[in-house]
């Protein structure tokens, strides 16, 4: 049995770890609340954007944007959104597993894949796979700004416009609730037309200024960007939630360990006292 002092040091070190995990849990909880607010704040834009796109799908425009035309698939692109830091349970590995499974389906059809990673965990993982990484951005912090993402998105949109990729997917975590985050791969391009608004069924079209082509392209580009931005913001909320849960269970585990160690410490202490006593008694009897 380990001596009392050894066990004491072990308990001390676990207590220190527990302090850290508990602090991280609380930090994650407060950050999660903020991230959720940010997630909610970005929703109206995306919602309004969907409305406009839905109207657009009904308008009888003479110009069809390349973003809306289905092409034969020869090469696909993925935008993968991960966290920058670890210690958030299985959040990133679950996402990567879903993504890789999705990619394998393309690989079986001999279709090549281009990737764009957001977050250093994704770039680290997919770099080791030696995939064709086209763009990468990371260290966006807790409050990412849209303009920090634009570069990476533009690389993929340019590739799509140039016909280098024929489909674009986004892989990110969906925030279900604090306990559950769901990894999901969603198609971004070509844009599938949203449900039609039944109120305006008659034949009409917008006035486009200056011309439909520029207006539509600018609009659809912003639509994609807003979707990616939303994915990033949502992923941050997921990251904080996952970290909170992971750190909570770590703190709980540390507590269990400390209890066990305390028990064995007390046993060791009692054993030592008993031994000492019996030695004294034996000594006294010998005299």
């Amino acid at each position: 049995m380990a001596s009392g002092k050894e066990i004491r040091t072990q308990i001390k070190s676990i207590q220190n770890t527990q302090k850290i995990t508990r602090a991280m849990e609380m930090v994650a909880a407060s950050k999660m609340r903020k991230a959720q607010d940010r997630m909610r704040a970005s929703r109206p834009y995306a919602q309004k954007m969907v409305n406009v796109i839905a109207h657009l799908a009904q308008a009888h425009s003479e110009y069809k944007s390349t973003y809306m035309i289905e092409r034969e698939v020869k090469r696909v692109g993925y935008i993968i959104i991960s966290s920058d830091r670890g210690l958030c349970g299985g959040l990133n590995s679950n996402l990567f597993r879903t993504t890789v499974a999705d990619m394998m389906a393309w690989d079986e059809k001999n279709i090549e894949i281009d990737m764009c990673t957001i977050g250093s965990k994704a770039s680290g993982f997919f770099k080791r796979l030696k995939g064709n990484l086209r763009a990468n951005t990371s260290h966006l912090g807790d409050a990412p700004r849209l303009d920090e993402l634009l570069g990476a998105i533009k690389v993929m949109l340019d590739a799509y416009e140039a016909g280098e990729i024929d489909r674009l997917y986004i892989a990110t975590n969906i925030f279900v609730n604090t306990m559950t985050q769901q990894p999901r791969v969603v198609q971004l391009l070509p844009i599938s037309a949203p449900e039609k608004d039944k109120e305006i069924a008659h034949h009409w079209d917008y006035i486009y200024e200056p011309e439909s082509r520029t207006v539509l392209d600018a609009l659809l580009m912003r639509y994609i960007e807003s979707l990616v931005y939303q994915g990033v913001v949502e992923n941050i909320a997921c990251e904080q939630a996952a970290r909170m849960v992971a750190m909570k269970s770590a703190s709980d585990n540390a507590g269990d360990l400390i209890d066990d160690l305390n028990l064995s410490y007390n046993k060791a202490r009692q054993a030592a006292i008993t031994q000492e006593l019996s030695e004294i008694v034996a000594g006294a009897a010998a005299v």
């Binding site: 940010r38 704040a41 970005s42 109206p44 834009y45 995306a46 309004k48 954007m49 409305n51 406009v52 109207h55 299985g90 590995s93 679950n94 990567f96 890789v100 990619m103 394998m104 690989d107 894949i113 764009c116 990673t117 770039s123 993982f125 770099k127 080791r128 796979l129 030696k130 990484l133 086209r134 763009a135 990468n136 951005t137 990371s138 700004r145 849209l146 303009d147 634009l150 570069g151 990476a152 533009k154 690389v155 305006i200 009409w204 079209d205 917008y206 006035i207 486009y208 200024e209 200056p210 207006v215 539509l216 600018a218 609009l219 912003r222 960007e225 931005y229 939303q230 585990n253 269990d256």
Partner: protein
């Protein structure tokens, strides 16, 4: 009863304004436009400038946008404001930077995707998690 418009001004990062108005003025790319109720459907980009919303009682609220899109339906005006400064060369520079990042990360290695390795690594991570979970359950 005067006619009104419903106006929504939103940016990707937050909702800026939502409410009814009698008239809206916006800096469209071809020149400033004033939108009154029952304006025909219109879609146009905006340049940087002021959006003025005249609410009931001819009060005016002013918002600055650095660009964006304006959608007009007869009784609804939606302004999708940009949060970032947008210009072709700025976008281009950002794109190049993101590409460099990727090249830097790859350091010249471009071969076949190694799916077997990916699955193995992931399986390992998942197994680790599962083990932790089991240890946790056993403790209880």
């Amino acid at each position: 009863m005067g006619m009104t418009l419903h106006v929504d001004i939103v940016s990707a990062e937050q909702e800026i304004f939502s409410g009814t108005a009698e008239m809206v003025f916006a800096p469209a790319i071809m020149g400033e436009v004033g939108i009154a109720p029952r304006h025909t459907q219109m879609l146009t980009p905006l340049k940087a400038g002021e959006v003025r919303v005249r609410t009931k009682g001819s009060e005016e609220q002013t918002f600055y946008v650095s660009g964006g899109m304006l959608e007009v339906q007869p009784h609804v005006v939606t302004i999708l404001a940009d949060t970032a400064m947008r210009a072709k060369d700025i976008d281009e520079a950002a794109a190049i930077k993101a590409k460099e990042h990727a090249e830097h990360a790859l350091a010249g290695k471009k071969t076949e995707m190694d799916y077997a390795r990916a699955t193995a690594e992931l399986a390992e991570a998942i197994a680790q998690l599962r083990t932790l979970e089991r240890i946790r359950k056993k403790k209880k």
